[in-house]
């Protein structure tokens, strides 16, 4: 094993991490602002990819159109993920918020989101079966060979894109009026309601962002790896949860660091110890980190400590 090979693995790890970043940011936003671990996120991710595939393969249902352009199909997939996310908001978060006041006292939204995870996942399984589907795009092989290293251009672009999206999000949270309202809700939902923030109008923004981030991430995955499957969300979802915890709950920049750390440790451990060792490395790292620093790398003390 030469130095170059290891360096190539590091590049691959960072590229893989870029897929995890957006999903981890989606997780960390919901938990940071609403104190709600949204388990539908893997399903939203899968939904965007599978709807995109289905449209580019069959076209709209009931024979309305023939197969449509892959780019347009993926965009519609992202929009589907956003609408699905709003549906989850309507039936988990908003409903229980109205009925029980502070939802963090209950495990209810968490359990409901697990219910929605099953609904979306098995709906797609019923419709399309469990096979992995090839997703063909117009650019087949766009590798950039740079003094012996192979860097895939779509992957590089997606890494840059995810960092831009997250930077934009950070700007939104810190500089705009909506961001201030969101941070107020994160601090104390009841008090922010009293201060004239329309919680029921602001909270859906979190879910729109969640759907958007998952959808974009799934689209990037489909373009890079040329495949989608009904189980694609599970793998990315668990790794993104690990990334979020390593970065610290509620910290957007922590999610970026966590995503890259998880991607790196996954590829390096596969390279050095074989394919099935990644699971032990990633989760072992998380467990050790939690024991020594129970709030993750950049986590805030107050987030995620509430009772279920």
């Amino acid at each position: 094993m030469s130095f170059e090979q290891v360096l190539q693995q590091i590049i691959n790890g960072l590229m893989l991490g870029s897929i995890y970043i957006s999903v981890a940011v989606a997780f960390t936003l919901t938990i940071g602002i609403l104190n709600f671990l949204n388990f539908t996120i893997p399903a939203l991710y899968m939904l965007a990819g599978m709807v995109g595939w289905s449209l580019s393969h069959y076209g709209f249902p009931f024979g309305l159109t023939g197969p449509i352009n892959w780019g347009l199909a993926l965009m519609i997939g992202v929009i589907c993920a956003i609408f699905a996310s709003l549906l989850v908001e309507r039936f988990t978060y908003r409903y229980f918020k109205m009925k029980h006041g502070d939802a963090t006292e209950h495990a209810i939204p968490l359990v409901s989101s697990l219910g929605f995870l099953l609904i979306f996942e098995y709906l797609i399984l019923v419709a399309h079966g469990s096979d992995t589907r090839g997703f063909s795009t117009s650019f087949a092989d766009l590798d950039w060979r740079f003094s012996g290293f192979i860097i895939s251009i779509p992957q590089l672009l997606s890494l840059i894109l995810s960092i831009f999206i997250v930077a934009g999000l950070s700007l939104l949270l810190n500089k705009t009026k909506i961001g201030r309202a969101l941070r107020a809700i994160a601090e104390n939902p009841d008090a922010s309601n009293l201060m004239g923030i329309e919680v029921n109008k602001i909270v859906p923004i979190v879910f729109i962002l969640t759907g958007f981030l998952c959808g974009i991430s799934a689209a990037i995955f489909a373009i890079n790896y040329h495949e989608v499957s009904p189980y694609m969300g599970d793998h990315v979802g668990t790794k993104a949860i690990a990334a979020m915890v390593i970065g610290g709950l509620g910290s957007v920049w922590g999610a970026i660091a966590g995503g890259l750390i998880v991607g790196l440790s996954e590829t390096l451990s596969i390279y050095f110890f074989g394919a099935s060792s990644a699971q032990i490395t990633v989760w072992g790292l998380l467990l050790i980190l939690l024991v020594f620093k129970p709030t993750g790398l950049f986590g805030h003390n107050a987030i995620g400590k509430g009772k279920f």
């Binding site: 219910g115 099935s276 699971q279 939690l290």
Partner: protein, 282 residues
């Protein structure tokens, strides 16, 4: 008993035992999303002991519970440093690590799994399930059960009232791990074949859902939840994918109409007072 019926009853028994293991931890306010990991520890302990050493069945079952308990006692100290979501994710991490270790170990059969030589009848599973259910009810009726409920409702106040919070949490976690190990041992002996892929995250999620939908307030919860979700799919008898789709819808609807679970303390008291009326007429 027909083969089909005994198969369903055995799965029901194993699920009920597994649900009680998660329930006992949940009764102190800790969600364990790593149930499959502890079940896998029990199943593999049982398989190795009966295949390699040829120990009698009762001993292997007892040892799988003991081993599950020891492992969860050892990890409960670092795990219980974490709270809330972090604790849920730490238990999830443990299940992933256990599955990863099994997949990487040639001795434990790796991804191909191992065949268990010993075999038990359905009756053994059912009797064990009844014993565990009775144990659950007894535990919740003792002072320890009361202390567990107090820690569940408010940790700080329970601590102020002189309850050794940490001891209660550690012992509940350990007992939960031991019972999960026992359910794993029963699974290994009944089905005769175990593989790491079976003990996946879905199993942990489902068993947690049995408990939360059954209700964590009383010891009836896991019994009702596990029975409900094991028997409903058998009654529905439809394709596998539709089955889980309906399962998802039931969960969402259930959380809307009975957010504290099917069985709550209030509901039980209402039923109890209607069966044995007191007060006005007496």
């Amino acid at each position: 008993m027909s083969g089909y019926l005994s198969g369903v009853l055995a799965i029901l028994g194993i699920n009920i035992i597994f649900a009680y293991s998660i329930y006992i931890t949940a009764a102190t306010g800790q969600l364990n999303l790593g149930g499959a990991g502890f079940q896998a520890i029990g199943a593999y302990t049982c398989a190795i002991l009966s295949n390699e050493l040829g120990l009698p069945i009762a001993l292997t079952l007892a040892l799988s519970a003991v081993f599950g308990g020891i492992i969860s006692l050892l990890i409960s100290f670092p795990i219980l440093r974490t709270k809330g979501v972090y604790m849920v994710l730490a238990t999830f991490a443990i299940a992933e690590i256990v599955a990863g270790i099994i997949l990487n170990s040639d001795y434990l059969g790796g991804p191909t799994g191992i065949v268990v030589n010993a075999y038990i009848e359905t009756e053994v599973v059912l009797i064990t399930a009844i014993v565990i259910v009775l144990l659950g009810f007894y535990l919740m009726s003792t002072r320890v059960g009361l202390a567990m409920r107090a820690v569940h409702d408010d940790e700080a106040v329970a601590d102020l009232m002189g309850i050794h919070k940490r001891a209660i949490q550690v012992s509940a976690f350990t007992l939960g791990g031991a019972i999960a190990g026992l359910s794993g041992g029963l699974y290994a002996l009944y089905f005769g074949f175990i593989e790491a892929q079976y003990f996946n995250a879905n199993i942990s999620i489902f068993v947690l859902l049995y408990v939360l939908i059954g209700g964590t307030q009383t010891a009836w919860g896991p019994l009702v939840g596990a029975s409900f979700f094991t028997l409903i799919p058998e009654v529905l008898r439809i394709g596998d994918d539709w089955r889980f789709f309906i399962f998802g819808i039931i969960i969402v609807v259930m959380m809307i109409i009975r957010p504290e679970g099917i069985v709550t303390r209030d509901a039980l008291e209402r039923i109890w007072s209607q069966l044995f009326p007191r007060g006005k007429n007496v």
